[in-house]
């Protein structure tokens, strides 16, 4: 089920990485066709990638719908069809994203002129606005939690949440924000080695956090036998699950930035993707701190 939530995150997050048309407030420099490199070739204003991406996303949603229809004692559809549509849709979606971002950003990266300062401003705004939508995406879950938290509490036996694992995980995530920020400072000042090392460390710390989160889920679900769908479990697993998906997406984005950094695609003048992904990562970090304060500490305080 997470995939439906995830699907909202991914295309939006990729928005921050949209095509090179971003450097285009050319009031007097003539029209800059938005998609010069895209298939079909030879047309500045035509691209197959949007419709491919949209078909992929639609496949994902249809797949989730079929999964739901295949559940229960009297399933409406066979068990083989839903995973095929779901996996197929996701594959087409990822292919569309890849083609789009590759043709939009990467393919003619070297040939393109150095953008002037402030040219990536629309990409930055795109990320800021996406994060605003994300605040609202998280809000619904928080509102549910506050609704039940202000009622009779506790609603049942609460699982043991405050352990050293949460402390370590929180420390790891905050540390990753620091390393990413220093890495970003590094590329802005032209310190490439520092940038690469700290960016790599950030990816590693992100992975450690995901591992810690999985360990916590294992402890809660398998060892403790916490209910996933009871009053507290609904809030806990919805919010931490949604956050976990965000961290996963963040690690993927950071890895892409890392690979591009290894290929030498960022410099003191050109580092838009580093900036936008940083914004995303710091935001996810902030959400985690709020989660710990309200959901972990707040449930027993």
């Amino acid at each position: 089920m997470g995939s439906a939530v995830d699907a909202e995150g991914e295309p939006n997050a990729q928005r921050g990485r949209e095509h090179g048309h971003g450097d285009g407030h050319d009031g007097d420099g003539g029209h800059d066709p938005p998609a010069p490199d895209d298939w079909p070739r030879g047309f500045g204003e035509a691209s197959w990638w949007p419709v491919v991406t949209a078909v992929g996303i639609a496949g994902l949603y249809f797949g989730v719908a079929l999964v739901l229809l295949a559940r229960g004692e009297d399933p409406l559809v066979g068990r083989r069809l839903p995973p095929v549509v779901l996996v197929g849709g996701t594959a087409v979606f990822l292919a569309g994203l890849y083609g789009w971002t590759y043709h939009g950003f990467v393919r003619s990266y070297r040939e393109r002129a150095e953008p002037a300062v402030g040219d990536a401003v629309d990409l930055h705004w795109g990320m800021v606005l996406f994060l605003a939508t994300d605040v609202m995406t998280f809000s619904a879950g928080f509102v549910y939690y506050f609704f039940v938290r202000t009622g009779s509490w506790p609603p049942g036996e609460l699982p043991p949440l405050l352990s050293s694992l949460v402390l370590v995980n929180t420390a790891v995530l905050i540390a990753s924000s620091v390393t990413l920020h220093v890495a970003h400072e590094g590329i802005r000042d032209g310190h490439r080695r520092r940038f690469l090392a700290l960016l790599g460390l950030t990816v590693l710390l992100g992975l450690v956090f995901v591992g810690g989160q999985l360990l916590e889920y294992y402890e809660l679900l398998v060892v403790e036998g916490t209910g996933v769908t009871d009053v507290f479990g609904s809030a806990f697993f919805a919010l931490t699950g949604l956050h976990g998906l965000h961290v996963g997406l963040g690690v993927a984005l950071l890895s892409i930035v890392f690979v591009r950094a290894l290929a030498g695609q960022f410099s003191a003048e050109r580092h838009t993707a580093v900036s936008t992904v940083s914004m995303y990562w710091h935001f996810v970090d902030l959400v985690w701190v709020i989660l710990v304060a309200t959901l972990y500490v707040g449930s027993v305080a």
């Binding site: 939006n12 204003e45 249809f62 606005l129 609704f147 479990g233």
Partner: protein
């Protein structure tokens, strides 16, 4: 489902054959049409920037093409939703359920709401904004052209998911004649829980299509949010340096505020829908009695739902503010205050949601505060209304179809708006809640203002978009019919509400029959009007007189020849010159295939 695959394959083959046929037909561009028409300057075929034929529409990243796709999609959805509306009014012709059964009635008013709100109004306004916003700003395109295209292409599948129950039933009937198992298709029925999807009903209804529809609504929300982000970034970053905030046009202001509302309202709805989906399918407790309860659903839903009301109507206000002065020969009166009132509505719209919940037994102190804000939001709306009237004062009114639409819209807005002030008062609402008074109130706005503004825009920019003129006499008749139809349909509903007829019932006491029949008659007038509009649009786009002077509305003499018309004038001049002018090279191929007598030498479509 696997067993039905042969049927799907057959359908796919037929679709592919049709596609190939149209590809073949449209592959060779016609120089002229059989009925004497010619290709237009603006929608006309293009040389190097875009492929020809069907391929162009599937691959386009041009804001104008995507705008047209949005408008076409929204119009198709509107016709579908209007069919639902006509079914509702047909059922209500008689007190008993003589025509459809109760379940069908429930399904029809539910899908009517979904289709009109999510797939008609917002897509059409997104389409209009797509087309004209960059032209009004003087920008090349929207900030993210590919995102723009993705956002559009997500809408058709989401409509399929939301309206799946009907589609699968029809497919089941068609495929049922073949030796196939269609029970899965028949198990999905059109959803009938009301567009507000109140729990616990929406959790407990067995119809599996509800879950599918929730996914479709979520997907449409993703698409709408993507478009909103695109508009905000475009207004923020793609303006030329000489276009400051003080000179931003009124339509762009409205789209900016609307997009801001979408940005905060739709993602919350998205999460809320997923929570309902989890409650339905996995037994979580978000809206269960022991968890958040039905009140949580109502709070979350209306926190989206009330801003949604303004998401629907603010673009209409923007169009009225933009077009009205053009037909009065005067500048918009109180421009700055209209902008302030738009922003005020945007901010306050997030503080009024609980006025939909006055009858739920919520805390009276909360009720009072929401009543205060709900009454106060009438003030910025009234500021707009009075400024529009002041714009017309002493103006030279030209009663062309767009102005008829707008004056009609202003008058329906007075009735629709003031009935809203009554409903915002707790004691009145407790009496009128869930009666036809509420239906009459908001339909006077969503039918009386929004489509009128859209149709005004469709007439106003028709020459710019198609390069042709529409039939003006037919347009005037059609506009008048729409205004009259709105009043005849929805004023009786206000009276019915006062008399106590509840909404959402297919059967009603016999004493209400006369007013219901008047309302149904009004709906018929609305239907006729829509058909006339459609005929005018299609036929004029094919064979309407070709526009040769870009100043269709005599805007130059009052100094209102705005940027989008200047852009149109450049296109016309290029076609007339038949040459490519360097400063507007991007559009030089736009004239494309062109068989106008004065530009037979124009052959630039092949030369570059």
């Amino acid at each position: 489902m696997l067993e039905t695959i042969p049927g799907v394959v057959v359908a796919a083959v037929i679709a592919a054959a049709l596609l190939a046929y149209y590809r073949l037909r449209s592959g060779r561009p016609a120089r002229s049409f059989a009925d004497g028409g010619t290709a237009s300057v603006t929608v006309g075929l293009t040389g190097t920037e875009k492929p020809a034929g069907l391929l162009r529409w599937f691959t386009t990243v041009d804001h104008k093409d995507i705008g047209l796709l949005y408008i076409l999609f929204g119009t198709a959805a509107a016709l579908w939703g209007a069919t639902d509306a006509m079914m509702i009014r047909t059922e209500l012709l008689v007190p008993e359920t003589a025509i459809w059964n109760v379940e069908t009635y429930n399904a029809v008013f539910t899908t009517h709401g979904f289709t009109m709100l999510f797939f008609f109004v917002t897509p059409v306004f997104t389409g209009i904004a797509n087309y004209v916003l960059p032209l009004l700003l003087g920008a090349d395109d929207l900030a993210f052209p590919r995102i723009n295209a993705i956002a559009f292409w997500l809408l058709p599948p989401s409509l399929l998911l939301v309206r799946g129950g009907l589609i699968t039933d029809v497919m089941g009937m068609v495929l049922g004649v073949l030796p196939l198992d269609v029970s899965a298709l028949e198990a999905l029925e059109p959803v009938g829980m009301g567009w507000t999807m109140y729990t616990p009903l929406s959790v407990e209804m067995a119809n599996p299509q509800i879950s599918v529809a929730l996914l479709g609504l979520h997907l449409s929300g993703v698409a709408t949010t993507m478009a909103a982000i695109n508009f905000i970034v475009t207004v923020l970053t793609e303006r030329p340096d000489d276009l400051g905030w003080d000179r931003l046009d009124i339509f762009s202001w409205n789209i900016l505020v609307t997009s801001g509302l979408i940005l905060l309202a739709f993602p919350l709805l998205g999460s809320t829908l997923i929570m309902l989906l989890l409650d339905r399918n996995f037994g979580t407790t978000f809206f269960a009695i022991e968890g958040g309860g039905p009140m949580l659903w109502q709070h979350l839903f209306w926190f989206f739902g009330h801003p949604e009301v303004y998401i629907l109507v603010l673009p209409a206000f923007g169009l009225i503010s933009l077009i009205l002065p053009k037909f009065c020969g005067r500048r918009l009166f109180g421009f700055r205050f209209i902008v302030y009132s738009t922003i005020a509505i945007g901010v306050m719209s997030f503080g009024v949601w609980a006025h939909h919940m006055f009858a739920t037994g919520m805390d009276p102190r909360l009720r009072a505060s929401f009543m205060a804000v709900s009454l106060a939001i009438a003030i910025p709306s009234a500021i707009k209304e009075f400024n529009w009237i002041a714009t017309m004062w002493n103006g030279r009114l030209r009663l062309d179809a767009p102005l008829i639409c707008i004056i009609g819209g202003l008058s329906t807005f007075v009735v629709g708006g003031i009935t809203g002030v009554f409903l915002a008062a707790v004691p009145v609402d407790l009496v009128l809640h869930d009666t036809h008074y509420v239906v009459g109130h908001f339909h006077l706005i969503v039918v009386g203002v929004i489509p009128l503004a859209m149709i005004a825009a469709s007439y106003y920019w028709f020459p710019l978009i198609t390069g042709r003129m529409y039939n003006q006499r037919l347009a005037r008749v059609q506009s008048l019919l729409l205004v009259v139809g709105s009043f005849v349909t929805f004023l009786p509903l206000l009276v019915l509400g006062y008399e106590g007829m509840p909404r959402r019932y297919g059967v009603y006491p016999a004493e209400f029959i006369t007013l219901n029949q008047i309302a149904s008659l009004g709906a018929l007038v609305l239907g006729v009007s829509v058909v006339l509009w459609l005929v005018n649009m299609v036929q004029s786009a094919r064979v309407g007189p070709v526009v040769r002077d870009a100043d269709v509305w005599n805007l130059k003499e009052t100094g209102q020849f705005t940027r989008e018309w200047q852009w149109f004038e450049e296109r016309l001049e290029e076609r007339r010159d038949g040459s490519t002018r360097p400063e507007s090279s991007p559009e030089r191929t736009r004239a494309g295939e062109d068989t106008d007598s004065d530009s037979d030498s124009d052959s630039d479509s092949g030369s570059d």
